[in-house]
């Protein structure tokens, strides 16, 4: 039906097609430029690192070098680590991270929503949440081990208490930023509390929530890794702690590199989510 209009009043559809192809070409060109720029920065950074390290201008004992790091990861990948194959370590950490990310996100949103909507609740619980947020997670990890044991739950808990707060504070503020007029309108149109949340408050707070998810995946990773420093048999945190214990800087960097790349991939996922859920923000360029 929409094609019809075009053929009646718009320029001929052939032109439309060519225009669309042009738009696509431009988008591709932009993409290529960005990628090459990122690559250039990457090459310069790692190149100078490698150079400084190879020439002992910086001490490889402390700083390792990109080449060694990649080689180390390669060795891990091919020969496996002391704790088993590399993919298993990755998978263990990833699983913990994803779980704590999801749980932390869900709880963060629920609490943020509840406290943002209900002033009484925010008065009562607010101070406690803020207080807990100031407690070093490293101190909490032993307590989690006491409560949840050495397995995955304690690592998830440790990631959760990092993720939760970031999502919570943003969700809370996002809920409070909702346009009063829109809330009023929905109420008049007959929205119940749940419907209000679904149709107005959550969509409106979504930018806030999604923004917090960008930083919180990184924090979920950190939480899982810190949890693995104490009481773990597998995982990237275990590998890093082990390398640290053996004065193996290259191993530490290798572990961190894997973590970083994971975070990057997850962030890309969050961005996709963002594009999908707040599509309406992107229509006007």
């Amino acid at each position: 039906m929409k094609m019809q209009i075009n053929s009646v009043v718009s320029p001929a559809s052939r032109e439309v097609v060519s225009r669309k192809a042009e738009l696509k070409r431009e988008a591709l060109k932009l993409r290529a430029r960005n990628l090459s720029l990122q690559l250039a920065v990457f090459v310069v950074l790692t190149g100078s690192w490698q150079f400084l390290s190879s020439n002992k201008i910086i001490d490889p004992f402390f700083f390792s070098s990109p080449f060694d790091i990649v080689k180390h990861i390669w060795t891990w990948a091919v020969n496996g680590t002391t704790a088993g194959p590399l993919w298993l370590q990755f998978w263990v950490t990833f699983e913990e991270t994803i779980l704590s990310f999801i749980l932390g996100g869900v709880f963060g949103i629920i609490f943020g929503y509840a406290l943002g909507v209900n002033e009484l609740l925010s008065v009562i619980l607010g101070p406690y949440i803020k207080m807990i947020n100031a407690i070093p997670r490293v101190v909490l990890v032993p307590i989690f081990i006491l409560w949840f044991g050495l397995g995955m739950p304690s690592k998830v808990a440790s990631g959760l208490v990092l993720t939760f707060f970031i999502v919570f504070f943003n969700a809370f503020q996002g809920v409070r930023e909702v346009d009063r007029n829109l809330v009023n309108n929905a109420r008049l149109l007959g929205a119940s509390k749940g419907q209000l949340a679904r149709h107005v408050i959550i969509p409106s707070a979504l930018t806030w929530i999604l923004s917090s998810l960008h930083s919180s995946f990184g924090f979920a990773l950190i939480g899982a890794v810190v949890g693995e420093f104490i009481g773990a048999t597998h995982g990237l945190g275990y590998l890093i702690a082990q390398s640290q214990g053996a004065f193996d800087t290259t191993g530490v960097f290798a572990g961190m590199l894997i973590l970083s790349v994971t975070a990057l991939i997850a962030d890309w996922g969050v961005s996709k989510l963002e594009k999908r859920f707040i599509a309406w923000r992107y229509v006007r360029k």
């Binding site: 009023n184 008049l188 149709h199 969509p203």
Partner: protein, 282 residues
């Protein structure tokens, strides 16, 4: 204040008025900390099925009155009754076209318009079918999939209109719904509104700054005085026959007479308003 004032007496002693404002005052705290009185001692009854327009100088308190009836804010003094019951919280029997746009930016035109039905539990297909009708009525058939940000100002206003009318409320609150439309579209919309109103016999509270529009549409026109502390200055019954053709009614001599009469009142207030604002120089 005005010698021409004609006070309209509601003849509906049998059942309570749909909307009743009793001794309403509304004050705001100004940035300086002083109290700014917007409305003062407003008494108003709107029976079921009546179409009431409210006019007055800009900034006198029309939108404020509307928000009191909608229950967005409580009055500082006095009470609002809906069908004889004291209003607490949002008015569940009303729907509203806001002065500023109020379509949900994250919903398409279709979803915006069908929202009211969906909230009332209609299933998606039915709600969409119904919404499609209303979208056509406001002339946006081709824009169902657009987001509000992709529409022109006048189109967004019409989305708001459809969104509000589709739920067929008992009380219709409209704050300058047609001010962003060209004359022709406006007439079409006005006719549409009258038709719907006649079908549903809702009570309409209609804010406009266009006196002709007010007279052409209404059973009653209420004039507010200039703020601060606005009161009801005049309350005029418009006895023009219905159904009316809004595009042509303004050439009717009866219309002109009423217009002339109300305009006197209104103009005085507008002038007072403008003078008031600039009287107290620092």
């Amino acid at each position: 204040m005005s010698a021409l004032e004609t006070v309209y007496q509601a003849n509906t002693q049998t059942e309570p008025a749909m909307i009743e404002l009793k001794g309403i005052s509304k004050e705001f705290v100004k940035p300086s900390g002083d109290v700014h009185s917007v409305l003062q001692g407003i008494n108003l009854q709107i029976p079921k099925g009546e179409f009431v327009s409210i006019v007055g100088p800009t900034g006198c308190g029309k939108s404020t009155t509307l928000s009191l009836i909608a229950g967005f804010e409580p009055p500082t003094q006095g009470k609002v009754y809906i069908s004889g019951q004291k209003l607490e919280g949002t008015n569940q029997r009303a729907a509203c076209v806001f002065q500023t746009e109020n379509a949900f930016p994250w919903k398409t035109v279709m979803d915006n318009v069908s929202l009211g039905l969906r909230l009332r539990g209609k299933n998606k297909a039915e709600a969409n079918d119904e919404a499609r009708k209303w979208i056509a009525r406001v002339g946006l058939k081709d824009f169902e999939g657009h987001y509000p940000s992709q529409l022109s100002g006048g189109m967004r206003k019409r989305v708001a209109l459809a969104q509000c009318l589709i739920v067929q409320p008992e009380i219709l609150l409209m704050d300058e719904p047609f001010s962003a439309l060209d004359v022709h579209t406006r007439h079409l919309m006005e006719d549409e509104l009258l038709r719907i109103w006649e079908e549903t016999s809702a009570s309409v509270f209609f804010i406009t700054h266009d006196l002709e529009e007010a007279i052409a549409l209404s059973d009653r026109v209420i004039v507010l005085t200039a703020g601060p502390g606005a009161r009801v200055k005049g309350d005029y019954r418009i006895d023009l026959p219905r159904p009316r053709n809004v595009a042509e009614i303004s050439f009717d001599p009866a219309f002109m007479r009423i217009h002339q009469q109300i305009w006197q009142d209104l103009r005085d207030e507008v002038i007072i308003s403008y003078e008031n604002a600039n009287k107290f120089s620092s």
